[in-house]
């Protein structure tokens, strides 16, 4: 028996065999995927690949307002179409993986990322762009992945494709308590985990050791020395890798510490301008970000060595807030906050935080009517995703502004 997915949150477990027979029995296809079932998302991706059709991945917690804004619809049942007989038939796991590795050039996957100037932006990848950094080899055939991301986000997709195209098992770790995570690592002999720094921080302190883990990958902020030592202690056999990735480009660089280098074959595809990292559009998915030849990442770097190029990430140029690995655009949240009746002005900003890296805060100026924090919070819950909702809300008489009259964010 070969395990495809175990998800204790759903209390489900699927062998590859069960997946294959489920595919055979699937009779229709809808290009929109919105479900909180990990198996549902994974199967939907596989079906779309086998059909060579576009798939639009929606976060399961998008509100109706967000869906309307992003896709123009909030209901998708009418998009369902029948699948011609036999298209999803495969003999066995090897046959399925072979088919998936040869996915048609017509296949694409669309997901949404927080844009820099208001509403989230659509980013579309084809098979080549999304699997560019997937490593397929005999060496990876026995990997067992701890899945610690949202499956409809870029980082989750990258882990999914790495596992899928190598025929690996996937064990859900996202959304579990630290006790459950530790239990799942041991029970399933997980070998690889890719997760946000917050995920690892919440696993600590831990007196147990996990010898099965061979590699842990993280992205974004650098671990401090103490965290690094604790991680080495609980994962004594693991190589710790730091990656730089974005929704627009996927994984681009990996490093053993916080100093990144780039493979020679990609060197001509990145450029540095005023310390900002630029990526050539050939490395990007198709998006409506208006990319000409070069995409300005908004990430500021410090060059350590010119040739060969090595560098370190310093900060973000724009105002996107990284909270526990999620990127939040303060302008998008402000727009929603200001639609609540009784609010005259608002400022969404971040404060550094020892758990999430950054925490979202909001200062609010009310008009003469008093508003209750509880009703305001429940309004936000109906409008935007949980991780975008300000955790600290302050009612103030006026917002602090910069000298040019702009609302000050930090």
């Amino acid at each position: 028996m070969e395990l495809f997915l175990r998800d204790i949150k759903d209390n489900t477990r699927f062998e590859w065999k069960e997946l294959i027979s489920d595919l055979k029995g699937t009779i229709d296809y809808n290009p929109y995927c919105k479900t909180d079932s990990y198996y549902g998302v994974f199967k939907h991706i596989i079906v779309s690949m086998m059909l060579g059709k576009e798939l639009i991945l929606l976060d399961s917690d998008f509100s109706n307002d967000e869906l309307l804004k992003l896709t123009g619809y909030s209901q998708y049942a009418s998009f369902t179409e029948p699948i011609p007989e036999g298209l999803l038939n495969v003999n066995d796991k090897t046959d399925l993986i072979e088919k998936l590795r040869n996915t048609s050039i017509d296949w694409k996957v669309t997901l949404f990322t927080s844009g820099t100037s208001g509403i989230p932006k659509k980013v579309t990848h084809n098979f080549n762009s999304i699997t560019r950094f997937v490593k397929i080899s005999e060496r990876n055939a026995k990997d067992i992945w701890g899945f610690a991301y949202n499956p409809t986000h870029m980082a989750g997709l990258q882990v999914f494709f790495q596992a899928l195209l190598n025929g690996n098992s996937i064990i859900r770790l996202f959304g579990l308590s630290p006790t459950e995570i530790r239990r799942e690592i041991k029970a399933n002999v997980i070998t690889h985990i890719s997760a946000t720094p917050t995920f690892y921080r919440l696993l600590l302190p831990c007196e147990d050791t996990f010898h099965s883990i061979l590699r842990i990958t993280s992205g974004g902020e650098k671990f401090n020395e103490r965290t690094m030592m604790q991680l080495t202690g609980i994962f004594p056999n693991a190589k710790i890798t730091n990656v730089y990735a974005s929704t627009e480009a996927g994984t681009l660089f990996a490093s053993d510490n916080d100093i990144f280098s780039i493979k020679t074959e990609y060197e001509h595809l990145i450029r540095i301008e005023n310390n900002e990292l630029l990526i050539h559009n050939s490395l990007m998915g198709l998006s409506d970000l208006n990319i000409s030849d070069w995409y300005y990442t908004g990430d500021l770097i410090e060059i350590i060595n010119e040739k060969p190029l090595t560098f370190r990430f310093i900060s973000r140029k724009n105002e996107m807030i990284n909270t526990g690995g999620y990127k939040v655009n303060p302008h998008e949240v402000e727009e929603i906050v200001l639609t609540f009746s009784g609010i005259k002005n608002a400022r969404v900003y971040s404060k550094s935080n020892s758990v999430l890296g950054n925490i979202i805060c909001c200062d609010i100026v009310c008009d003469e009517n008093l508003i209750s924090e509880a009703s305001f919070r429940s309004f936000l819950q109906s409008k935007i995703q949980e991780y975008k909702i300000p955790r600290i809300i302050r009612f103030v008489d006026e917002l602090s502004t910069t000298r040019t009259g702009k609302v000050k964010r930090d």
Binding site: R201, L202, P205, T227, G324, S354, V355, L356
Partner: protein
């Protein structure tokens, strides 16, 4: 002190629409017993810092109510509540 901590806990739980608690014990585990997730713990540390001027998770995440109390007690040997 424990009472005030319970009030802070309940503010955080309420903000997420989670069930509040009537009591906590020193042994209560923040995640397994109280039900805090990473967003809640992040908010908790801000609220406790605002009142007691100490970042309880600065040197790693603590697991139980008792460990929070220890952190607050060792902060200058007293509960140096702000305001």
């Amino acid at each position: 002190m424990e009472q005030r901590l319970l009030e802070i806990f309940n503010t955080v739980l309420q903000n997420r629409g989670k069930e509040t608690r009537t009591k906590i014990s020193l042994k209560s585990n923040l995640r397994d017993d109280i039900g805090f997730d990473s967003l809640d713990l992040a908010e908790l540390t801000v609220r406790i810092e605002a009142e007691y001027d100490i970042d309880i998770f600065e040197n790693g995440i603590v697991s139980t109510v008792g460990e929070i109390m220890d952190k607050l007690k060792t902060n200058n040997g007293t509960f140096s509540k702000r305001h």
